[in-house]
Symmetry: C2
Subunit: 101 residues, 2 copies
DNA sequence: GCAATACGTAAGCGATGACTTACGGAGAAA
DNA sequence: TTTCTCCGTAAGTCATCGCTTACGTATTGC
């Protein structure tokens, strides 16, 4: 639920690929795995982490499970970045202009 | 240099703590290590990764090495997120309104 | 009930990574 | 040059992680 958890969830390349796949539209586990060079259980495990981090949502459709981007969780991550950037860039500019380390 | 490298660099908690420390102002390796429960070499190794990812800059001041946020590299990461969010949230909203997966 | 589909979970393995201690190098002061 | 400060690097250890195969579960259709 924290931004740290979200960052860690998005760091591994394969898991980020899963997430970016969902950014292009909702999909089932099998559909996602078909487009990646890893097994279906691997994708399932990545989705578990993404779901725990509140980055994706899970919906049942028969025997399928459809995953999609969790817009609310994504917004929380964006808020963190916005606040971080405001603070960091402000201090950065101030140090450059003032010359004070 | 890629956003993937930047994401991976910011994922580990200790390394993110180093980065967030620099967001509050430039500092030397020793100063950073003094505020963290890890050794100085550990901080040095984290700074190396952050520098390779173009997230921090290095400046020499006598025997010290002063590290600071790399605003340009940070902006690149922000650009990636902006583009990602625009695409993801647009598709997300469209799927909700249209009801089409 | 029986078979098929789609998926999550458990167990195990190989690789990666974060950390430590020990050491060497570059700059400042005498 | 010698000494001190501050730092990067090398080597090694222990934990974590990402992946695979094997298996169990829930749902659909006959």
């Amino acid at each position: 639920m924290t931004y740290g958890e979200k960052l860690e969830a998005l760091a591994p390349p394969t898991r980020r690929a899963v997430f970016e796949r969902l950014a292009k539209g909702a999909a089932s586990v099998g559909e996602i795995a078909a487009g990646l060079p890893v097994s279906r259980p691997a994708v399932s495990q990545h989705l578990r982490v993404l779901k725990d981090a509140a980055l994706v949502t899970e919906t049942r459709d028969g025997t399928k499970r459809v995953y999609a981007i969790d817009s609310q969780g994504l917004a929380e991550l964006r808020d963190y970045f916005d606040r971080f950037w405001d603070e960091a860039l402000d201090i950065f500019k101030r140090s450059v202009e003032g010359g004070d380390g």
